[in-house]
Structure formats: C-alpha cells, structure tokens
Symmetry: C2
Subunit: 339 residues, 2 copies
DNA sequence: CTGTTAGCGCTTTCAT
DNA sequence: ATGAAAGCGCTAACAG
C-alpha cells in the first residue's frame, strides 16, 4: 500500500534489507553514518513500515481491543477518551467493539480477539453477562485483560471500578439526611456487581439510619426512557408517601425527574432525587438534580495504564493491581435545591 | 497466539496446508468430504486464522480507521455506534483515533494510517483543520476516505453531512416566527464549513425576514463551559435588547441557558433559545430548550456503508455519493415553552 | 558493523 | 481434487 518498502530502500542505498531494518529500528550495531543515510532517505520517500508484516514476525500487534456495551453513553465515551490517550502515548492502537448489552455478541467478540489480533483487552461486561466461560479462554491464551466499571467477579484479573458500594451508601445517606424516609431505588442491571453494590450501599444506609426497607420501593427499569418514566410515574401515583428517588443509572434519574414533573411533585420540596450521571449537562441544565459523578476518564486511563504496564514488561496482570476510584457527589443547587 | 495454526491442522489431518486453507475458505475445488473433515477439526481445536498473516498476504486488513475530534460528545458517540454496527456486519474491524481538535495530531494520525493498516478511513475533521494537504496523500495512495459531519471541502471525496444551512435557516426562522428580533448567534468553529453553513442559514433567515443583522450579536465561544457562560452573560447584561439565542453547538446552548438564568432572564418569556444538540437528555430535562437534532447514528451508518461498498466492490468513492441527511427540530414544551 | 538466511502464518499460482 | 512452492514485508539468528 505505502508503495515503498524495505527492499526498495535497501536497493536504493545499496545496502542489505537487514541493515536498513536495523538502522530504522535504531539498532546499536549500525554506524551512525549509515543510520543517518537510511533515515534520511526513509523520510524522503515517506517510508512507512508495514504493520502487518512486523506484527506477524514479532508476534505482537501493538493493538488493544476495547469491548463495551455501548458508546452512546457518557461514561463509556469518557473512558474511551482516557484509553485512547494512554494507548497513543504508548504507541498502541485501539480497536473498538460494542456488545449492545448482548451476551452472545460479547462471546463472539471475545472469541474473535483470541487470535493475536490484539495484545490485550479492556472490557466492561454487558448487562446480560452472567457466565464467565469465555473469559477463561483469554486466560488460557494468556491474553492480558483488564475489566473496568462493569467487572466480572468470577475471574481473577485486574479491574478498575468506582466505589460503587460506598457511593450508593453516600447517595442514600444524603437523601436520608435531608429528611427522606421513603426512597425509591431505581436500577437496571440487578445481577451485575455494579448494581448489587450500589443497592447494598442503599440498603445499609437505610439500616444504619434505622429506616425500614420496603421492597416495593425497589424498581427495576428496562430500556426505553418513556417506558421507564411511565413506570415510575405509576408508582409515584400509587404511593404518595415516596419522598426520594435514588437512581443507580443516569437514564433512570432522568426518568425519575420527568415522572415527578408529570405527577406534579415539586423537586426538591416534595421529593428529592439523586442519581448516577456522568453527564455534566444533566446538572448544568438542572441544578435540582444532584448527581454522583464517576471519574470516567480516569478509569479509562487507569485501566489502560495497568494493561500497558503488563504488556510492556511482559508481566501478568494481577488482581492485586485492581483499584477502586472515588466518585463525586455533585450538588449544584445553592438555593437549597436538592443539594 | 491462538496456538493452533494451519500447519498443525494439516498434519493432524494428513493433508497439505494449501488444501486445509482452501477447505476453510470454502474453495470450490475441494471435495465436500474434505471440507467437512477440515472444518470439523478446525472448530474442535478452536482454530482462528492469524489475521496479520492473511492481511499481509492478501494486502488488505479488513479494518477501517475512524478519526474524530472527540468521543465525549454525543454526536460522535452515536456516529461510532452506527459505524461499528455496519463494520461488524461487513466483517470489518474499527480502529479509533482522536484528534482532540488538534490539527497536528490529525496530520500524524492520517500519516500513520497510510501504511496499509486500514483499508479505508472515516473522518470528521478537527476544528483547527484548514489545510488539506494531508488528505491529498490519502488520495495518492488510493486509500478510500469518507468524510462525515465536519467535512473538508477542498478534497473531492464523498461526504455525509447534515443539512447545516437549512437547519440553521429553520432554527433562526423558528425564533423569528416567535417574535425574536435580536438573536445572538453562538458558534465555535467559524472556519469549518459546518459552522459557516449554519451561520449562513442564520443570516439568510434574518435577511428574508427583513431583520437587520448586527455583527455584535455574533459570538465565537471557546472551550470551557464556564468561560462561555460568563461570556454570554456579559453580553446579555450589556445588551438588554437581546431576545433570542441560536447556538450552533450543544455546549454553547447550555452556556446560553445558564447565562440566561444567571442574568435573571426568563425562558421563554424574556428570551428564547434554540440550539444544536444530539443529547436527548438536554430536552428531556429541560423542555424549554428547543433543539436541532442531527441524525448522528444514521450519519455513521451511511458513511460506513458508502465506504464499505467502495471497499467490497473495489470501486473508487466518488463525490457523487455524498449525502446530506435531514436534521430534526425538537420542540418539547407543550405549554408554550420555547416551542 | 554489515550481509545471508530463515521464517512468522497465510494465500495462491502452478503443477499433477 | 490435492500438493509443492513461492512470497507478502519484516525481524532476528547466525556468520563474518
């Protein structure tokens, strides 16, 4: 493709291919004079090494695969930003794959990457994923993998997460502190560790405050923002005692907000809302919406950094390298909004 | 990496490497019996062809590069979704590169891709890009390229855009129709065709309505949401006659909204806002914000489709394949909000 | 310091 | 219908 290759360079310079190769790779066994000559001509002719030839020979691709459920979601977008940046700095390329929250797709993708196309994998598991057999294969093949945000607890690789339990606790505590006693808990993926931990934080905060937990307040949303809004709205109408909403996912925070509006509840006078959201817009537009912000960009960077360190030093990636980054409680409303 | 390769399969089956290769590629010159035998063992052993070996030999990578300014932006996120989907359907892989709106990075990335790593490129140019020399090289190398959203008018490849002029006109018309006469125009990248077209729509709408254009109402924002808010706020305070805001970019629509709040202007009673935004959240959260929604996902799909058609049929990608997709004016407020 | 040679794993003529 | 052999472009022993 790039028209000019090593052989041509070698011929033009009357050198052997290996000398040229070594000169370009700045090998210590090539004279400074030759190096210069070679590099000069190489840049003149715009020589670009064929990545596939060297990948084949070196048995490494300088490429990582990123597998995520969806990219139209601010958390993952920001994470990709972090990942791409670190990759670039380390001379790596980034292949992107989307599972669309579909387990079968996730399996296929993982399997497709187990052929040397990538040197390592960064993954946030799909909402449907329960079985971890496909990850076992990655270990077998010794393909370094780092989980981020939505981790798979069954395998023993490194993972970068947010302080899900803790932030779930804090969020609930925040509402309790403001007088809420009947807090609706909105969640999507109950069987994902991320959902479970957030909910456990919610439950423990209630318990520590001696507030009874009512299972009726546990709501599992689905996909489709209008559907969720209707669902919450219905529950609000059924139970006027509800005075708080804790949404474990951004989309559900919005749904909760809209449902409150639809039922005429005033925020924060009648009801208070707190929700996970990585969308700065959300609280910029609407300060009455208190949010839990995950350090998405940092998570991407951290996950990538751990992966690359393992790759460069050719060391296995250990569970001990796992980290839990802190999320932030963002309260915008100065005028006693929800804050 | 994947441990098992053609040679091993061949030995195990007592066949030649070429036969096995052909069998797996479903060649017509292999007996049905052999094919079956081969394919059976291949799946049993979990054979995965080495992508780099076949890329090297075939001189094609089954990979496309996507170059965008940023991914933490709903438009590009959605576009990637569309691109990835189409790529997957066609057996292509997607490499992601971010320019961070930086021209130098864009040049480097483009140059790095001109070595056979990708079979084609999908690109949305950085805000700084004025010079198109680096794209000329792509043409030289015959590397199929499709521009999307932020196109480069100097080259003659296909491009997928939104109806920027038209939507700029319609947005402005919308405000004029509601009585606005002093409409502030907020823009980021004035020299990008996308910014120019939107502004031209604005100007023409004013002219057609016989409303004088005041250059003082033209505001060029920068990066940093707080900075932009302060800028707009200052202008609003200086000029109380301003009764409308047209934001050519989502972030500026938010800045405008916040500035209005800060200066005590009521929306839409005192001032009306309309802005480009691909964030459904924005108008869900705040129905008084009328938005122009681009068909981001469709743009991604369309751009990718054109690229792949060219790649598969080995045909050049022509300007004639360019398309302009329609954007949508989203008015949420039923209660006479801004709508 | 430089050249010769082998080979990464696959595809594809060319032969049989 | 199958096999032998060449070669994609590069790197890395091994010589010298």
């Amino acid at each position: 493709m790039s028209s000019v290759n090593l052989k041509q360079l070698a011929q033009a310079l009357d050198l052997s291919v290996s000398t040229v190769s070594r000169a370009l790779n700045d090998s210590y066994e090539i004279s400074a004079a030759t190096k210069e000559k070679v590099q000069l001509l190489a840049t003149q002719l715009g020589y670009q090494p064929n990545p596939y030839a060297s990948s084949l020979r070196r048995q490494q691709s300088k490429t990582v695969g990123v597998i995520i459920p969806e990219v139209a979601n601010n958390f993952f977008s920001l994470a990709i930003n972090g990942i791409e940046e670190v990759a670039r700095q380390n001379g790596y390329h980034v292949l992107i794959y989307l599972t669309h929250e579909n387990f079968a797709q996730e399996q296929t993708i993982v399997q497709h990457l187990a052929n040397g196309r990538v040197d390592g994998i960064l993954i946030s598991v799909s909402g449907e994923t329960q079985d971890a057999a496909h990850f076992a294969k990655l270990r077998e093949l010794n393909l370094p993998t780092v989980f981020f945000d939505r981790v798979c607890e069954q395998t023993d690789t490194a993972s970068i997460t947010t302080d899900d339990y803790d932030s779930g606790y804090r969020a609930t505590h925040h509402l309790l502190e403001r007088g809420c006693r009947r807090i609706m808990h909105l969640t999507l993926a109950q069987h994902l560790s991320i959902g479970q931990k957030r909910m456990q934080g919610y439950l423990d905060a209630l318990r520590d405050a001696d507030v009874a937990f009512d299972p009726a307040l546990l709501v599992r949303g689905g996909h489709g923002s209008d559907h969720n809004t209707a669902l919450v709205q219905q529950l609000l109408e059924q139970d006027p005692s509800i005075d708080g909403i804790f949404a474990a996912v951004e989309s559900l925070a919005i749904a909760g907000y809209r449902a409150c509006q639809a039922t005429g509840r005033r925020i924060p006078a009648d009801i208070k809302i707190i929700g996970f959201s990585n969308l700065e817009m959300a609280d910029l537009l609407n300060p009455s919406l208190t949010t839990i912000r995950q350090p998405a960009y940092a998570i991407g960077r951290e996950a990538a950094t751990i992966l690359f360190q393992g790759l460069m030093k050719n060391r296995p990636i250990l569970t001990s390298q796992s980290q839990e980054l802190k999320s932030e409680l963002v309260v915008r409303a100065s005028t006693g909004g929800l804050g």
